[in-house]
Structure formats: C-alpha cells, structure tokens
Amino acid sequence: MSLSEALNIGTRGLVASQTALDIVGQNVTNANTEGYTRKRLNLQSMSRLDGKFGEMGFGVDMVDVQAIRDEMLGRQIQEVQSDIGGAEATDNVLGKIEDIVSEPSDTSLSSAMDDFWDSWQDLSNNPSDLTARQAVVDSSLTLVGRFNTLSNDLTTLRSDLNEVIASDAGEVNQLLSDIASLNKSICVAEAGNQNGMNANDSRDAREVKLKELSQYIDISYTEDAQGRYLVSSGGSLLVSPEGASSLVVDRTTVDLPNGTQYAQTSLRLSSTRKEFEVSGGAIRALMDARDDIVPRYQAAIDKVATNLVEAVNEAHFEGYDLNGRTGTYFFAPQTTGASDIALAAGIENSPALIAAGTGGVSVGPGSALLLAVPAAGATIDLTATNAAYRNLVEGSVVVTTVGPPAVTLAEGADKDYMVDSVNGEIIFNNYAQYAAGTAVTVDFRYNKVGSAGTGDGSNALRIGQLRQAALADGGSATIANSWAATVGGLGAERERATNSLETLKELGTSLDTQQQSLSGVSLDEELADMVKFQNSYQSSARFISTVSSLFDTLINMA
C-alpha cells in the first residue's frame, strides 16, 4: 500500500463525514416539515485484494442516502385517513343538524308545540274571547314558522353539502395532478437507477399529497417499475403513468316535494365520462349525509307536521266557529310537510273563524207559503223551500189556508195531512173540502244544527287534547313523544359518530406516532450524530495531516 493511497482513504473519510453532516443538517432543519422522513447516509468499508493479506481496507464508501420509512405503515395511515375523513364529515353534518333542531330549548319545535296545545286549552276556557282566539293564531304562526325554518335550514344544509362536495372535488383534482407531476419528477430523478439514486424528498411530498387525498376519497395505489404511483379509487384509475384524470362536477336539478328545486351534484370522470363511484372518505360521507341523513330528519319533521295538520284539521272540520259555520280547516289542507305548512286562508285575519265549539241543536221557527195545494196523496217537500227545513219538531206543524176565512187544517192519518218530520215533508190526505190550488201557509219549528253558543269551547278542548292522543308512528305514540324519540335518535347518532371519529383519530394518532417513531427526526440523535461526524471529520483530517507528515519525513530523507 502506498502513502498516496492512505491519503485517499483520509480524503474519502473527509467527504463521507462532510456528507453525513450535510444530511444531519437537512434532518435537523426539516424536523418540523410535514411528511419529512429522516435520511441516513449508508456507509460501507471499501476494500481490495492484496496479494499478501487478502482483503485490505481501502477507506469508506458512501452507498446511498436512505429514507427511513415503513411502506406498510404508510398504507395503513392512508386507509385510516379516509375513514377519519368520512367520520369527520358525518360528525360535522350531524352536529349541524343538532344546531338546526336546537332541542332542548325554549325556542325549539317541542316548545312551540307545547305552546300551541296550551293556547287551544286556553281557548276552550274562553271560547268567546277574541284575545284567546288571537293567542291560538299567534301560537300557531310561531309553530308554523318553526316548522318552515327547520325545513328551510335542512334544505339549505343539503345544498351546502352539494357545494362542499363540488369544492372537495376541486381539491381532489388538484391533489391528483400534484401526484401525477411528482410521479414524473421521481421517474426522471430515479431514471436508470443504479443504486443510491433515490428521489427521497419528492417521495416524501407525494406521501403527503396521498395522505391528503385519502381524506376525500378511499384510494388504493401500486408503484410501478419507474417509481410512479398508480392511484385508483372506486374501480377507476385516477393517476396513470400518463398523468391524472380529473373529476367533473355535474349538477342536476332535483324537484323537492314542496315544489322548490335544488341542484344536486354528482361526479364524473373526465377520462371515461362515466359516473365516478365514490367509495369512501369525506366525499362519500357528504353524499350519504345529503342523500340519507338529512332527508331522513327532513322526513321525520315532515311527518310531525302532517300528523299535526291531519289531526287538527279533522277535529276543526267538525267544529263550529263563532258564526255558527262548520266544515272549515285550521291548517291549509294541501300541506305536504314542514316546508309548506300554513294556516288555512282567513284564519290568520279572522280568529272568529276558529271552530272552538262542537255545535249542537237549537230549535228555530220556519214557515213556507205554498201557493197551490197539490192533489190528494201528493207530497209537499219543505226542504225545497229551504234545505235546512228538516227534523221538524213533532206537533209543531200548523197548516192554514190563506183566508179569509183562514182555516187551520188537522193533522192525522185520517185527517187532512200527515207529517214526515225527519225529511221535512207534508203529505196531503184529503182536502176535498178545499179546492185544489188553495194557497196554504205552513208554520213549524225545526231542529237547527249549528253552534251551541259562543260559550261552547268543547271542540277547542278536543283539539287541545290531541296533545296526548297517539297520532304518530301508526297510532303508537303522541306527536310529542315521537318527536322526542327522533331527537333522542339524533343525539344517539351524533354520539356514535363522535365516538367513532374519536376512535379513528386515536388509531390515526397511534399510527402517526409509530411513523414518527420510525421516520421522525430526533434532534438529540441528530446532534449526537453531528458530534460523531464532527469527530470523524476531525479524525480524518488528523489522519491526512499524519500521512502528510509521513510524506514530509520521506521527502526530508532525500
């Protein structure tokens, strides 16, 4: 071995130490960089065969710069990431629904319903009092407003979800194109890879993008021979060796039950023009929330509204208002749900139209002037004069010829006429003593069906009592109980979502910790390495100066 070779060994040592220090510097400065994987310089001792000793050391050789990462762990993290993305979106939407429902509170739907029923009871206590009637109108308007707001807020939430899906699709597109371009630079950097040619930093960046992408959709990927990732999801290849395809947002106008419309988004692949099947991640969760969760609660609220409208209207229809009229509705009968529930026309401005009474029968006088008495056996139908002239009071019918002289005819099977009181008919038997065509007046009393008086609040009471009637869930629960169950169900669903999100997050943190443990930069370690390589640099330099002094000795000998 020659002295110049020893000088080479020293130089190699200097270069290796310096490179190692460079890497320490890179690691330390990137300790906080997201996705950064610590790098290590792999060293190997060089040797060559010497005739006498066999292998002789020839200094140190730098094999490669290795990024310390666990591929398996990386994949696990991607998978969990998409579950976390989905759980986060679901939890978020359920939280928003909770905010919209805002139970229990003094301004919630159940409070408004309580006030509504109370106002009917108050009306039943003071049926003739217009203030009590106005109070029913007011509480009903509050209730109707509450229903409308709930429905609108949920519809708005659905359209917001569509917007979020659209903007998430934009993010996905950006990430896909980022991954494709990183693929390209990795491919170029590692081209003709002998050994040690790793595009470590681009790979780190690609991992970060992949992790971000996993939040939105569930992806799988394989690495090809050129180090490119082929990313696919839902059966479609999103990043191919050629580049990234993108998602196109389509908007379809959907008709809502209440007649309004909203734009529903769906995703399509630009490459195949086919619909893109989203299989996981935040976008899937958002779509599920839009198509299942929100409509489910909307339907529950609609059900409450229609149950209420049906029951109240049915009772109201049979009641009598202050003017003695019946057969009117309280809520608009065309109500299809919470979005279009409204008071029936007129009620809002005329509380007198509220049918607080059950109605009853009162007796009233009636009379008919018949100009020509028909032949024997013929029938006079009083309802022809007035449809209400039926249900005559027994014995109240007085038939008098128009005089003079005015003669009162006699009632009876063997006398002048008979009475069919139920149908309001008078059957003439024998009028031989009077010329046919004689004019007669018929006076009678009949049972008028109508209001039993302004003090009758029994129908208001009946409506007030609907509060405890089992009207919901196929007649198994009161409206309030059914709503309370829905709200309880919402709470439970949110709680589940939050718990599963937390569990997933813990799993994610644990995996991250494992990755950090393996790939993260430990400053202490790096500083120790720094000291180590500093020493090794100094030692190499010392070695060179020693070899140099050997040269001096040799030269001075001459």
Partner: protein, 387 residues
C-alpha cells in the same frame, strides 16, 4: 425500544392540551348555561326524557290554569247561589207575613213591592257573569238566561194568527207577546207566562171586575160584556211586564280538562239552579206576588210551599257546586304535588349540579395548568443546550 422523536413529544403535548382545553370548555358551557344538556348528543336518552318532562310540565301548568278558571266559575256560582238563598229566605218570610189574617190589602201591596224588588234581584242573580260570560246559560254564555221585559198583547173578536179571539165573555184567553218574534210558537209570537203581577194593564177595563189574570200561566179571563164589546170594536190592547226565559238551549255543559283525560264540569245550568218548566223560582215568587196583588190570603199561604221547594232545589244545587269545588281543590292539590316532582325530575336530568361541576372545573383547570407547565418543560431542552 421505541424511538422517541421531537415530533412525537410535540404532538402528544398538543393533543393533551387540546383535550384539556376541550374539557375546560365543556365545563364552562355547563356552568354558564346551567344546563347539563345543551344538545341532544350530550345525553341522547336524557334529551328524550327531558323533552317528555318538558311537555308533561307544560301540560300540568295548563291543567292548573284550567283548574283555576274552573274554580273562578264555581266560586262565582257559589256566591250567586248563597245570595239567592238569602233572597229566597226573605221571600219566604214575606210570604208568611202576607198569609197573616190581620194583614190588609194595602199592607199586602207594600209586601208586594218588596217582593218585586226581590224578584228583580233574583233575575239579576240568574244573569250573573264571570269574565263577561253568563254562568247559568249553559254554553250560550253571551245570552242572559232570564230577563224582565215589557210586552203587548191584543185580543179581537176575529181569531188572530195565534188562534186567539174573544167572541163572547166569559172566556179565557192565552196572552201572546205581539211585540216580539221568537221561535217558541209556530207564528213566532212567544206565548206569555210569568207576567209580573200588577203590571198588566188594559185601558177601558178594570182588573177584578172586567177580567182576572192568572199571572203564572199568562192567561186573562174576560168576565163582562164590556170586554166582548171592546174586543168587537177597537180590540183589547194589553201591556205588561214579564219574566222571559231565553228560548235557546241553556243546558250545555262547560268542561275544563283538569287532569290528563279527566274533564270536570264547571257550570250549573239555570234549570238546575232556578228550576225548570213551571216549577221555577220565578213561578214561586210570582205565585206569591199574585196572592199579594189580589189580596188573597189563601193564595199567599199556598205560595209558601213552592217557595220552600225552590229553596230546597237551590240548596241541592249549592251542595252540587260545593262538591265540584272540593273535587277541583283536590285535583288542584294533586296537580301541585305532581308539578313539584316533575320539576325536580326535569331539573335532575337537565340542570347542572353546581357543586359537582364547580369542583370538576377546579380539577380540570388544575390538570390543564399542570399540562401547560409540564409541556413547556418537556419541549424546551435538547442536546443543543448542553453541547
């Protein structure tokens, strides 16, 4: 051995701080709202129960309002009935006085004047209102059940629409009030009964000689040819004052829901309190007045019994009201007890136990501060500090 890196320590400290802040915030929310449940997911089962209880409480307070309203009706009724009893007591005293042998016609007239005012008082009692509603009118609360009204009648020798005529004396004619239209008869002229004795006048004829009156039934018996002549000529015009019962159906029940599924009647109809048909309080009083008016000792004496019967009926009605009042009072007490337990139950589920939450708060706050302090100590040092 696990490698521990700077990033891990940092992330752990951050997570721990975040968790502690979250708990601190939750506790603060509980403290500031005073509510354990601010959203359904805080306690899904509790939320459901809380909503049930809120509805239950709302119902209980409504029932309480209904009970109070019912008690208002009943106590107004009770007061009216007890005043009525006193009035009838006075009527009875006057009847006994009037049946005294030694009383003269003039003295009986004076008694009659006092009975007249008692009659007016009784009509006013029958028209007692509570919050502007007539309490003895059933569901026809805007209509007074009884009223004192002026009326006119007319008899001629030709039968009128009501079939009344006077072709020859003596004859008894039913009076119809021609000044009114009503549904009680086919012609719409109400048949008159309960004429106030002494108020019926006929110009040209003298009561007692030319005619006599049955004031309770509203019939006039014409005795002399003068009456026949008058009927054939200008006709006999009568004017009078009478007690009229509303023709509407006054028997409606007024109900208040006082407990779930239980309604209580809160009204007493005029038929129950003042009697129905020909056996009303007014029949009794007018019977007495007729005796006093015609100075008939026997009639006055005979009127004592119906007055007694009316008083009994009154007492029965009063007892009836009393039992309803008691029942409502019982329901009201029960309602208050239920209310207290429901409020407690609701509060237990929904409201914060301050002592517990404040001690929780102090606990969490200490943990929070400790985690900040320890975190700052852990994050700082690296090997660099010692090189």
């Amino acid at each position: 051995m696990t490698r521990i890196t700077f990033g891990m320590v940092n992330a752990n400290v951050q997570t721990a701080l975040q968790e502690n802040t979250q708990r601190l915030n939750d506790t603060m929310t509980k403290l500031s709202t005073g509510k354990l449940i601010t959203r359904p997911s805080d306690d899904p089962v509790g939320t459901s129960s809380a909503l049930h209880l809120r509805t239950q409480l709302a119902k209980q307070s409504q029932y309480y309002r209904n009970i109070q309203d019912g008690q208002g009706w009943l106590s107004t009724t009770e007061t009216a009935m007890s005043t009525g009893n006193d009035t009838l007591q006075r009527v009875r005293e006057l009847a006994i006085q009037g049946s005294n042998d030694t009383y003269t016609a003039t003295q009986r007239k004076y008694l009659g004047t006092e009975v007249m005012s008692l009659l007016e008082e009784t009509v006013a009692l029958a028209n007692t209102t509570y919050k502007g509603e007539y309490i003895f009118s059933g569901t026809q609360t805007q209509t007074p059940p009884y009223s004192l009204e002026d009326g006119t009648g007319r008899v001629t020798s030709v039968a009128d629409a009501n079939g009344q005529s006077l072709t020859a004396a003596p004859a008894t004619v039913q009076i119809y009030d021609l000044s009114r239209t009503d549904s009680s008869t086919a012609t719409g002229n109400p048949q008159v009964d309960l004429v106030v004795p002494g108020t019926l006048t006929i110009s040209g004829l003298t009561e007692g000689t030319d005619y006599t009156v049955d004031y309770r039934r509203g019939t006039v018996t014409f005795q002399t040819a003068t009456a026949t002549a008058l009927a054939a000529g200008a006709g006999i015009d009568m004017s009078f004052e009478r007690v009229r019962k509303s023709e509407l159906d006054l028997n409606g029940d007024i109900q208040r829901e006082v407990q779930q599924g239980t309604t209580a009647g809160v009204n007493v109809t005029s038929d129950v309190a003042f009697g129905s048909g020909d056996d009303t309080v007014f029949d009794s009083i007018i019977g007495l007045m007729q005796g006093l008016h015609t100075n008939s000792r026997t009639e006055v004496q005979a009127s004592i019994e119906p007055v007694d019967e009316s008083m009994e009926a009154f007492l029965r009605a009063q007892t009836f009201v009393g039992s309803r009042v008691n029942r409502l009072q019982f329901t009201s007490d029960q309602n208050r007890t239920d209310n207290v337990s429901l409020t407690e139950e609701s509060s237990r589920i929904e409201d914060v136990d301050y002592a517990k939450v404040i001690s929780d708060y102090q606990n969490i706050s200490q943990i929070y501060q400790a985690s900040i302090k320890v975190g700052s100590e852990i994050i700082k040092p690296t090997l660099a500090d010692y090189l």
